[in-house]
Symmetry: C2
Subunit: 207 residues, 2 copies
């Protein structure tokens, strides 16, 4: 298992290397990756060692093989099927979000507890109710779900997803949800970015 802190950094390096790939860059260095990833070149070299022997001392890394190696180490070697649980404002904004396919994520289903929303279309999906959730999760071969319901409904909606066979939840609701040990929850927290931004706005670099 990759330690959590290292995993967070490897995910950032993959975003950086994927950006270099779309920019047509062929080779890069730990210094160049560190600059875009807000890390040190030493940390980059140490972390990339988790993915096997990459790059040669003195001549850097080939971008395309490095991206492939990072995707393999992070388990992004197949298309992952994702659902939206709660098709309100945020759920609808996510249904339209461009670029999922660039990362091999496929939005496959959308669910809402409001009968008035069931049957409507959002992005590429038709909204389903919660009646036969387990059968629907199996039919769409779902792996994970975005939890985009109000905070008060979050635990109940998470329980329904877990009972239906979902193995991972990306929680957008501002509340902590409890799940069994074999289910994974990651929370999305834009307040962390806002707090970092505040620090920089309050401490502008000397001109």
């Amino acid at each position: 298992m990759i330690p959590t802190a290292t995993l967070g950094r490897l995910v950032t390096y993959l975003r950086v290397v994927a950006e270099l790939e779309t920019e047509g860059v062929l080779t890069t260095s730990s210094e160049a990756i560190a600059g875009r990833a807000h890390a040190t070149a030493f940390q980059v070299r140490k972390d990339l060692a988790y993915c096997g022997r990459l790059g040669t001392r003195g001549s850097g890394y080939q971008v395309a093989p490095l991206a492939r190696e990072l995707r393999r180490a992070l388990g992004l070697t197949r298309v992952w099927h994702v659902a939206i649980m709660g098709v309100g404002r945020l759920g609808q904004a996510l249904a339209d979000y461009p670029n999922f396919d660039r990362y091999d994520f496929a939005l496959r289903a959308a669910y809402d507890a409001d009968p008035a929303k069931v049957g409507s279309t959002v992005g590429p999906l038709v909204v389903e109710g919660l009646d036969d959730l387990a059968a629907s999760v199996a039919r769409h071969a779902l792996d994970m779900a975005f939890l985009t319901v109000p905070a008060a409904a979050a635990q109940g909606a998470a329980d329904a997803l877990v009972a239906a066979g979902i193995r991972g939840i990306l929680n957008f609701a501002p509340t902590v949800i409890e799940v069994p040990a074999h289910i994974r929850v990651e929370s999305v927290d834009f307040l962390a970015g806002l707090t970092r931004l505040t620090y920089y706005v309050g401490n502008p670099p000397a001109e």
Copy 2:
């Protein structure tokens, strides 16, 4: 200046310590903080040294003074005024987001380029147009803005905010925006959380 990587971790420690505060916990340790922050106790002690001499060896940290000290070190010592630029689905979801006041952020204004939205109410705000943006930014004493417009409109909307006197932008749009050196941009990227989630779902811990 606090190095970027350290800043990211201090922001996480503040969230952890603030959670302990709302749970009524009076004292904590670097081990307890490290557990919730996915860091090592050594890293926590090293990072907290940036905020001055805190805690005593062997008996841990007092939670309330530690939270105060972290807020001071991060510049969260006053209320920061934030605007929403682009009042679509995500902008509206943000206007309703609970807890801003717990972190001393005040939503003060909302702007949209669509004349049909100007004058409508969203959360606590009345939507304004872009005509007198500089005058409005001054009137609301705005510091920062959420950029929640479509990717194609993001650079133009950012330019308008910078020209109007905004000093920090939290960018939700999936595109890189260019700003002058004295303006700070932080991007919100839920794909990093989704990628971490994928790794754990693909590598479940042994039972």
